[in-house]
Assembly symmetry: C2
Homo-oligomer: 613 residues x 2
């Protein structure tokens, strides 16, 4: 019995639920096509070719359409066709094959029902230490994911607060049943495991110890028996101060390979999260530089990982900040299978209150990465038990768009946003354009008032929401602005921390000098005096002030625009309510950052605007 | 069955437990005297005179001593006599009567078992939403309190997180049984209530509504039937954003008097906590000044409270900071019964890790208050389920000393500390002196590195431990230093926020000018440039640096001294372990505050010591 009122999000054109009997992608594809095209009195015929796998081709025929593809490819083709027709877009030409074979959604759901950094309510499937969900809702979730080609869902938090072993020991039948709900939509499960798990049984987690290897082999056998198509294991080693390979003087490659070999017989992938947790430092120490940490640790291991290991690397060197350069690790690991990780959960980017559409960010990352050996893609989920799935109804855009970018990293942000807007809301054409423009601009607006010129981490500790310019300044996380009365920023040039040397020559040359470094990363890479003259002739401090003032004004303009949209309820009220919070937040950011810098440098605003004492 | 290993704290000379059969103060007094003096082959005779109440007189006789007193007075007399003999102090001469009739310990214990701002483990009597305790331990606690004359224990947190109604509705038999454990030691219970409780039954908490008055009358009848000697109710009105008198456009006097009239038939006191919770402000607003809030609200109500209302006022205008001036409310309420409130729980004063002996603080407060109409005294408990009761074994001093000051606010800090040291540890005389000196100085040391010149609130938000000079700077609590590149502090003179005008003329004159204001409150009352020249010829900034450097050095010296003390285990190890944490903490304070101010002002240390960039 469903206790949840179906919210269709971008599946507005497909209002009928998928019956539980449809338990293969082929069956779902048939139903979706029949329901949609019968109304149109058009026909869709299927031409199944297993060798095409997830790929598909759409062919126009006299009476309708023919789809060619593998089983999942046909499902993807149906959604692509419906989306194209609904949005009046041209049909995809030729065989469409997803760029990344693994397109993962990492859910930070704890078995308690909490979601780490979740901003859309509690877990959709865990509560009180066990599985608890509405199967109709999970099917609808599967359908949403399948409709945009997300093909792996990692079920539990990679920070395994509740021992992952509990999930594996006590709940395999439930995991199996859950997997069955998503399978018809082409979505496979992945599980987060805790590297230190064998300790409780064999007293060690040393990857070179045969007992440990045997323990994992037994575990994998049990797990794959329950879920034969499990995609693999996700590991954050040395997680939360628990033992990892380094505890036993083993490298991360030795740790990852041990697990990968255990998973190989089952075709499983071992996703190893390249997050160096033990990167705490003393704020007095100006030599250590946290953005260097991942590269310093993993670059020497390039080539040492087995081929079913995927090293999962955050898109930037810090931690999903509003503005970071691309991670040098993504550019530097030539002989390692990589996954680039994004965070749909808006931990540092407005927490699904403030608007922050991510496609422009991804466009930049993919442009910088080029066509390198990145073989998978992952994103931290922004989902939760809220009726609208994502807290802010517009935040669903990021999930939708993530799927499209994962299939095609050459996607155009504006097109993707417009597609989502059309599929979600039946607005008049001009309003669709307005909403698209609003969202397209939202990241640059948020950046302006919270992190202009690449100055990040000026946030409230722990909550990560709201301005707190010195909040992390003396903490152990390497997250400093080092603002003083004369200057701000960290010198990461070769003469500074040397971080810039982790980049390939062209980028290194670009970032090395303040004269060539892009404005939006200027204070990430350089320490500059407040009177530094920028390329546009303004001083650094004036640019800081200007951006904060402008960012707030832009939020005001966004709020006015939002008022004019004839969105359906409850989305309209919800979006307006959150926009009010964003306005309050933006005003705090503007005033606190301006006051903070003004107190240091004493320079008045050239335009005489109010800066509080 | 006792699961707890008796820790005697300052009752070292009385190692035998008090049997459960001793259920009156008279019986306890007899047993304590007999056990102690039989060994000495001395005799104590009792002369009970009910009219003396809690007062007593000790008379030396040929064969021993005669005690005169009311029933509780005799108990107090026995402990006073034993303590004097144990410490080699002169016997108290003449009739000894406690100065404050109500000497209250306010416990911030939640029924969950948590203690708000507790640093000594979980609640001694609550766990998991119900009563849960070891009766032997509670009796021992009663004995400790009785031995220093604390005569009221408020059982539950004044921030009534778990509805106080639950305690009153569901647990009156348990409250009654608990009261019986403490009664033989002269300790009565008090309960915290929630002003808004009647809402659930009568739909309002308006104090002028007859249904509300009737509801409270019924409640009081039930409560006093269970605990006939209950001391009264403690109320923090408008607590935690729940309704209070202001919600109904009633004054706090109307709210308090309504309850006081309900309690009058039972002889109960209504203790009304003069804490203005809704004092949130905008950091941009430089006119509003939080220290003014309590006086501004309550001074106009002076004389409006019934005579069984006690207005409980924190000793300073802020919130138990390391250094505050005395609250002007304590000096200004001429026609209102007052209670002065201290906080033994070291929320802002080292959290029972760093040493912070409070008697010097109390000496100053009482000296400033003089013999005003203060009719009660209260302190927030520092107790918990730790073996040693108070986290740090030395923190028991503050509980002990509080009792002595509550009976005699003219007490001398050094004498009180020495008395505690002798009663607690059988150290050689020179070591007792060393320990006494260490503790006597501990507050001034802590002040030096955390809050010199009256600059408080430079702490980590929420935890309230460790340096965070801008942590509260842009928050809503009125807790600002307003440090900038030129100056620091808030001008609270008449030309500033006018706070100083809340003081009587002599103090007002003292504080009004930076020339006369005591150094330790200089930046509490004044905003001064870093190059302000202090009375000793040093600049303000140099004094800030000097104190931070000296404070840390003094902690190093304390650590060395501590090493030399032959304390019994486990106290020795525990004290050393905590001292190591204090050293780490003090170093962070020194370096972070120095760097913070140096970044603003750019002035180097005159003595060339290391200030980090």
């Amino acid at each position: 019995m469903s206790t949840w009122k179906t919210r269709l999000a971008w599946l507005r054109a497909l209002p009928e639920p998928i019956p539980a009997e449809a338990n293969t992608p082929a069956a779902v594809a048939e139903i979706e096509a029949k329901t949609y095209f019968d109304k149109k009195q058009e026909k869709v015929s299927f031409q199944r070719e297993e060798s095409l796998g997830e790929a598909y081709e759409i062919l126009k025929t006299a009476s309708g359409y023919t789809l060619r593809g593998g089983e999942t490819g046909l499902l993807y083709g149906v959604y692509a066709l419906i989306f194209a027709l609904e949005t009046g877009s041209p049909l995809p030409q030729g065989v469409q094959k997803p760029y990344y074979p693994l397109r993962m959604l990492n859910c930070w759901d704890n078995m308690s029902g909490d979601i780490e950094r979740g901003y859309a309510g509690r877990s959709l499937w865990f509560e009180g230490g066990r599985f608890s969900y509405d199967p109709d809702r999970i099917r609808q979730l599967g359908r949403m994911l399948g409709s945009v080609g997300i093909n792996v869902l990692c079920l539990n938090n990679v920070n395994v607060h509740q021992p992952a072993q509990e999930l594996i020991d006590g709940f395999l039948p439930e995991v199996s049943a859950f997997a069955a709900l998503l399978r018809p939509f082409g979505v496979r499960l992945m599980l987060s495991i805790d590297f230190s798990q064998p300790i409780k049984d064999v007293g060690t987690a040393d990857p070179l110890d045969e007992r440990v290897q045997g323990w994992w082999a037994d575990t994998a056998k049990r797990v794959w028996a329950a879920v034969p198509d499990l995609a693999g294991f996700l590991v954050k080693a040395d997680s939360e101060h628990r033992p990892g390979p380094n505890t036993y003087d083993r490298t991360h490659a030795e740790g990852a390979n041990m697990l990968a070999r255990v998973l190989r017989p089952f075709g499983g992938k071992l996703v190893w999260r390249a997050f160096v947790y033990n990167c705490m430092q003393d704020w007095r120490d100006t030599k250590t530089d946290r953005p260097r940490a991942a590269y310093d640790l993993y670059k020497p291991l390039d080539g040492a990982f087995d081929d079913n290991v995927i090293l999962q690397v955050k898109h930037g060197p810090y931690d999903f900040q509003v503005r970071e350069p691309v991670s040098p690790l993504l550019l530097g690991m030539e002989r390692t299978a990589l996954s680039v990780e994004f965070q749909l959960a808006q931990e540092y980017t407005g927490q699904q209150i403030d608007l922050y559409a991510m496609p422009p960010l991804w466009r930049e990352v993919f442009d910088q990465m080029g066509k390198r050996r990145v073989s998978a893609i992952a994103a931290v989920s922004n989902l939760g038990r809220d009726d609208c799935w994502t807290g802010h109804p517009f935040a669903a855009l990021n999930l939708f768009a993530y799927g499209l970018f994962a299939r095609n990293p050459d996607s155009d942000p504006e097109t993707v946003i417009r597609t989502w807007a059309k599929l979600t809301y039946a607005l008049p054409e001009d309003q669709t354009g307005t909403l698209t423009a609003l969202l397209l601009k939202s990241r640059s607006v948020y950046e302006k008032y919270t992190a202009n010129l690449g100055l990040c981490w000026m946030i409230t500790p722990n909550s990560h929401y709201g301005p707190n310019p010195y909040g992390y300044e003396f903490q152990a996380w390497g997250t400093y602005t080092r603002a003083d009365r004369n200057a701000v920023g960290i010198d990461r040039s070769e003469a500074g921390t040397g971080y810039v040397a982790q980049y390939p020559p062209a980028l290194k040359a670009l970032y090395e000098s303040p004269e060539t470094c892009p404005d939006n990363l200027l204070l990430f890479f350089h320490r500059l005096p407040y009177d530094f003259v920028m390329r546009d002739g303004r001083t650094l401090i004036q640019r800081l002030y200007d951006d904060h003032f402008e960012g707030f004004k832009q939020v005001q303009a966004m709020a006015e625009v939002l008022e004019k949209l004839t969105l359906p309820e409850p989305d309209r009220q919800e979006a307006r309510r959150r926009m009010e919070a964003q306005l309050t937040n933006a005003r705090e950011w503007r005033d606190i950052l301006n006051t903070f810098f003004h107190r240091f440098c004493g320079v008045p605003d050239a335009k005489g605007r109010k800066i509080y004492d």
